[in-house]
């Protein structure tokens, strides 16, 4: 049934996903990450983590040839890291310049560059300043990107 759903998603490539569709895909992404990237469970143990799509579900319709739930597009983030990563993407959305696949890919690269060191691993205590610096650098690079 999930496979049917994901195939149906392919047919809806020109349409942004609904809230319900995104919920189903997020649950499936969490399960796929746990199944295909065993190191995540080993790294986090009982520590909380949050699955993040490097290219977000809200942009899935701009990448019709991409499996948005491919494990290469999924990372596990400590909630404190995820909060800053989400803030960077939110900043990009608010610029109103997120309307092309190319811009989305570039921002995904910026987030990878600035936060990649914390992907799929527990964040150590006392990294607030580092996270803030990574966020500020992301915003600075997004500003430059949208001005070009």
């Amino acid at each position: 049934m999930l496979k049917d759903f994901e195939e149906e998603m392919g047919d809806l490539a020109e349409t942004a996903l609904s809230t319900a569709e995104k919920k189903t895909l997020r649950g499936a992404a969490r399960d796929r990450l746990a199944k295909e990237k065993k190191s995540v469970a080993e790294a986090f143990g009982d520590q909380p983590y949050e699955v993040h799509h490097r290219v977000g579900l809200e942009y899935a319709h701009r990448f019709p040839d991409m499996d948005i739930n491919d494990v290469d597009n999924l990372v596990a983030l400590d909630p404190a890291v995820h909060k800053r990563v989400s803030a960077a993407w939110s900043y990009f959305r608010k610029t109103g310049k997120d309307n092309t696949a190319e811009a989305v890919k570039k921002v995904s690269k910026i987030v990878d560059d600035e936060f990649g060191g914390w992907f799929d691993d527990v964040a150590e205590e006392g990294i607030e300043e580092q996270l803030e610096a990574a966020f500020q650098e992301s915003v600075s690079r997004i500003d430059k990107l949208v001005r070009t």
Binding site: K22, T24, G27, V51, A76, K83, S90
Partner: protein
């Protein structure tokens, strides 16, 4: 101190065990039942205090119930630094969907005279959209029990209607929750981000007709 009965949590336990789902409570700690939320600027929820007397968090089906230390660490983190939601100060996150940025949070300002606080679904993937789901924590567990009994698939099984829209019929009977949805600060919470999930907006509109 006599522990509050938690029939919803008991029903959730029975449903999970009947389905063979994870039920892994963490051992209670000293002083359990006297949950102190002073660092969070709020009075503790009565149902969660009763629950802490039984276990200091745990994994229940897909729900990670926060241990006391986690609760006092996670909420301040949500309230400081870049990316802070303006509504974070009005909520206390007490549980999360395992591996996902979906949270269950109470609204301390709307506690009843017995100290029970309503519960909202907080979706951090959707810019912190809030959907009210229960007038108390234990009622929230009743909804989870119903969802597990009726909809949750076996591991690797078919997809499901997502919680909490899957149990909207029961939420529609929670008259206190619907009343609170017209009160400050719930009005502010509902206006945040992309707003509540469509099923709740429909339910609320029907209740007000």
């Amino acid at each position: 101190m006599t522990a509050n009965p938690l029939p919803g949590f008991d029903a959730f336990e029975a449903a999970c065990k009947q389905r063979g789902f994870t039920w892994r409570p963490f051992a209670p700690v000293a002083g359990a039942g006297d949950l102190d939320w002073t660092p969070l600027g709020a009075a503790a929820d009565a149902d969660l205090a009763a629950l802490q007397a039984r276990c200091d968090g745990g994994r229940f089906w897909e729900i990670d119930l926060a241990p006391r230390a986690r609760l006092l660490e996670h909420n301040p983190m949500l309230r400081r630094g870049s990316g802070t939601l303006p509504i974070a100060h009005q909520l206390v996150v007490f549980a999360s969907w395992h591996g996902l940025a979906w949270h269950l949070a109470t609204v301390p300002a709307l506690a009843d005279t017995g100290g029970r606080q309503p519960v909202v679904w907080l979706d951090l993937y959707d810019d912190g959209a809030v959907t009210p789901i229960a007038s108390s924590v234990d009622r929230c567990f009743s909804l989870l029990a119903e969802h597990v009994e009726r909809f949750a698939p076996s591991p690797g099984g078919d997809s499901e209607p997502a919680f909490a829209g899957s149990v909207a019929g029961s939420i529609a009977t929670d008259t206190r929750l619907l009343e609170l949805s017209g009160a400050v600060p719930m009005i502010d919470l509902l206006a945040h981000g992309t707003g509540p999930e469509p099923w709740f907006a429909e339910l609320l509109a029907a209740a007000r007709r």
